[in-house]
């Protein structure tokens, strides 16, 4: 066991500051363990969200030395021994207190996505899908809704265009439905007009921070953008639309 110092953001929407805490750390410890130790020993009112402590629930999202990460999956051993680790809340969402932010906007976005509209079942009452066909959609369903991708997305983080773009998390959520073998809904108009697919400029920052290693940009957003382009910007189709007036 040895001591390590952490700079932790303390404050609420009226303001705050970094405070330093030193706690004993042991082998295999992760950032969330250190936060719990700070709570138990120095600051019982330090606010942090967490649940499963195994990278499966996506609750303990935070910015560790400036990188969006899960506190429970970030090992202290990955940082130099005498280095002071800085921990702060996600920047993109309104601060509630300390490391806890108001992520309710994300829940509102989820409600905007139309649920699966499955085709009828086969005559024997079963749905049949091939494993190859469900794998793309299963990749997106690995999402644990940590919102680190939302936090990182320039459109949401730097330009605060939450009014215009639904964000990478919900692009793959709608993508998952659009690529679902059973779905019968035409989702392309909404992808362009309601969810703002055009705002993403494919910098892949969301993909980089995904703790589930989902290929958000290449497997999710780009194919959706392509479908939008095929539908609306194909020159032949554009010409036909002009002629037919549709």
């Amino acid at each position: 066991m040895s001591k390590r110092t952490f700079r932790v953001w303390r404050g609420d929407k009226s303001g705050g500051e970094f405070k330093e805490y030193s706690v004993e750390v042991g082998p295999g410890m992760v950032v969330l363990d250190a936060i719990h130790r700070i709570q138990a020993e120095h600051a019982s009112d330090l606010a942090v969200r967490w649940n499963c402590k195994a990278g499966k629930c996506g609750s303990c999202s935070m910015e560790i030395d400036g990188m969006p990460k899960l506190g429970c999956m970030t090992r202290l051993g990955d940082y130099p021994e005498n280095h002071t680790i800085t921990i702060q809340p996600m920047k993109t969402f309104p601060l509630i207190k300390d490391l806890v932010t108001d992520v309710s906007w994300n829940y509102e976005q989820n409600k905007r996505i139309k649920p699966l509209q499955p085709r009828p079942r086969d005559a024997d009452g079963e749905h049949r899908m091939q494993q190859d066909d469900v794998e793309r959609t299963q990749e997106f369903r690995k999402c644990i809704e940590c919102y680190l991708c939302q936090n990182t997305c320039h459109v949401l983080r730097d330009h605060d265009r939450k009014d215009a773009f639904i964000g990478p998390r919900f692009m793959i959520r709608v993508g998952q439905l659009a690529m679902h073998p059973l779905d019968t809904e035409d989702r392309i108009p909404a992808i362009r007009d309601e969810y703002g697919s055009g705002y993403c400029n494919i910098t892949r920052c969301c993909t980089e921070v995904c703790p589930e290693h989902i290929n958000i940009t290449d497997n999710g957003i780009i194919p959706l953008k392509e479908r939008v382009v095929d539908r609306y910007y194909d020159p032949v189709k554009m010409l036909l639309r002009k002629i037919s007036g549709k």
């Binding site: 295999g28 019982s44 509630i96 649920p115």
Partner: protein
């Protein structure tokens, strides 16, 4: 003093407490029946402990092995539960699980497929046939996301990050609940005609547990304080395979799916020790040579199952015995090897979360090296005693489903029977609540004094000048339970644990938290302590009374199952003077038809003779 008229108030027909698989499925059912429904969750929506479930949900879909049917599933469940299950619940579960699983597909669930395109099913401990519908090793996430995404379009209200601090009654019947917003510490009054508890278990009474912080036994304690009975509380499931190293992740679950996919358990001498721990009851259906186990894994339907897939209680005790005998792994567990059983690509595909979990938290590549695993407190078979068909407790209007309720799993739960339990009994509790509400003539009225007393109890913690640190007191509870009511128990140690928990109560009543009411971790911890100590006491008292070893309850001073005890459940209730009473209650005789199925020879069941 609070004025009840100034409290933020929601009125619902049904208030569902807990937003895991059981709570969400209950809420979906209530909404489908036209009831005004609200769901309260301690965390954000979609974070409940259900996400931790990995292996799958058991249902006799018959997609992989046509010999399966509800009767075999029922028989497996009863045998796994050491015949202490509620017969009717085990029957309902086995019969209804397939429809509940199929309906999830229409709501967006994407299970792994068979070559024919149907829902694939995997092998699991105690299940005769491949029976677990699964999505890789993250089936719990698949379930909760499916219910969440479907649920948000069903018109029920969700009240996130709200802790229920007490149930409210109008005379004998339920009238609502008082909650506390974790965000800003203000109180909220829920008036409701019926309340459904989908609150899970109480694993945080122990230090080494797979459970998240939410699992503080709130549901059992709230119901107990409101006059409901608890049952089977001595049956606590220690999952055989939790991580043991590094210390900060000890207890984190390693899915049984590893063994279902062919993983084997080894001691430090490299011996596959499970062959030495096959109980008599399971011997006719368990492989006794490595060669036969290997044939089973290759799909030979005439081969018997490997001993690693015996029920969880058996495997957990075996690992503990090996460690005690000095044959454990370096960090006090056993080795779980899949690397030498399956190709690396197969492992990554079938067990992706395990691959990442070990890689990132323990720096172990499970496609190359064995994992170190040991028992971890995982699940409460016991909980709120409910009627098998309606899911209503002894308190009119108070329902429970999923892990929060008792009966379905008896003395030991089979892996995979939990996720299916959630959706079967979640739905039935919604039906039960709707039926109950129809019988109400006038809506129940909330008692103002009850509300005021609850508010005072909660705010006293902030207003005290000084008092014990709630985090420290929680650790004390965990120490007492670990020492006195762990994986193996003894009468004198249980008595000591009960006495120590008792002595802790005045300290719990005087804990102090920092005065900030906003997202105050110390305060929330302080508010969970009453649930933790009450749940712990219920476990210890029940365990002391049951003088035998059965399923998730092992007594060193009373080894083995005793025929006499198969006739009793242990029921816990609150006495008028506030003390806890645990008593034996005789079990009714099973319906003849069900008894016949449960005790049938497997060959006769397969041949359709029963």
């Amino acid at each position: 003093m609070v004025d009840i008229n100034e409290l933020q108030t929601f009125e619902h027909d049904v208030l569902v407490i807990g937003a895991g698989g059981a709570g969400l499925r209950a809420a979906i059912q209530c909404a489908a029946l036209g009831l005004d429904t609200g769901v309260v969750s301690k965390s954000l929506l979609g974070k409940a402990h259900t996400v931790m479930a990995e292996g799958g949900m058991a249902a006799a879909l018959r997609n992989v092995d046509k010999r399966d049917n509800w009767k075999v599933h029922f028989r497996d469940t009863m045998r796994g539960g050491k015949f202490l299950n509620n017969w009717r619940m085990a029957q309902l579960h086995a019969q209804q699980a397939p429809d509940r699983v199929r309906e999830l597909e229409d709501w967006g669930a994407v299970f792994d497929r068979t070559p024919d395109g149907l829902i694939n099913q995997r092998n699991f401990g105690g299940h005769r046939y491949p029976r677990l519908a699964h999505t890789g090793d993250r089936t719990g996430l698949e379930l909760i996301r499916t219910l969440q995404d479907h649920g948000v379009h069903q018109g029920f209200a969700t009240h996130m990050e709200c802790k229920i601090v007490g149930l409210l009654k109008d005379g004998d019947r339920i009238a609502g609940a008082l909650g506390l917003w974790r965000e800003h510490g203000r109180f909220v009054l829920f008036k409701a005609k019926a309340v459904i508890m989908g609150t899970g278990g109480g694993g945080r009474c122990w230090r080494v547990t797979s459970n998240s912080w939410e699992y503080s036994g709130d549901g059992a304690t709230l119901a107990y304080d409101a006059g409901a009975e608890l049952m089977d509380m001595e049956f606590t499931q220690f999952h055989p395979t939790g991580m043991v190293w590094p210390p900060s992740v000890s207890g984190v679950l390693v899915t049984e799916g590893v063994r279902g996919e062919g993983g084997i358990l080894l001691n430090n001498k490299g011996e596959r020790f499970m062959f030495n721990y096959i109980p008599e009851r399971f011997a006719p259906e368990t492989a006794d040579t490595k060669e036969e186990a290997a044939r089973w894994l290759e799909g030979d339907k005439n081969a018997r199952r490997p001993p690693e897939l015996l029920t969880r209680d058996v495997v957990a005790r075996a690992i503990r015995s090996e460690v005690q005998a000095g044959r454990g792994s370096p960090h006090g567990g056993a080795f779980l090897d899949i690397a030498n059983q399956r190709p690396a690509e197969y492992i990554k595909k079938k067990l992706p979360s395990m691959y990442h979990q070990f890689k990132e938290l323990a720096e172990v590549d499970i496609t190359k090296d064995p994992m170190e695993v040991g028992p971890t407190l995982h699940y409460f078979m016991g909980g709120i005693r409910v009627d098998a068909d309606s899911q209503m407790s002894k308190v009119p209007g108070l329902f429970a489903c999923g892990e929060a309720s008792a009966g379905m799993h008896g003395a030991n739960r089979l892996g995979g029977n939990s996720l299916s339990d959630l959706i079967v009994f979640g739905k039935l509790s919604g039906d039960g609540a709707a039926d109950y509400i129809k019988t109400l003539e006038a809506p129940p009225q909330v008692n103002e004094d009850e509300v005021k007393a609850l508010v005072k109890h909660c705010t006293d913690i902030l207003n005290r000048e000084e008092g014990p640190n709630p985090f420290v007191v929680h650790e004390e509870i965990q120490e007492i339970m670990g020492e006195g009511a762990g994986i193996v128990r003894q009468g004198d140690e249980l008595s000591t644990a009960i006495e120590k928990l008792h002595q802790l109560r005045p300290r719990i009543d005087s804990v102090k938290a920092h005065s900030a009411s906003q997202f105050n971790a110390g305060w929330h911890e302080a508010l969970d302590l009453h649930s933790l100590v009450t749940t712990g006491e219920a476990v210890a008292r029940s365990a002391l009374l049951r003088e035998e070893s059965r399923g998730g309850h092992t007594r060193l001073d009373f080894e083995g199952e005793r025929e006499e005890w198969s006739k009793y459940n242990i029921v816990v209730s609150k006495q008028p003077d506030g003390t806890m009473l645990a008593r034996k209650e005789e079990r009714p005789d099973p319906p003849e038809e069900l008894a016949k199925i449960a005790h049938a020879k497997i060959e006769d069941l397969e041949a359709g003779n029963v």
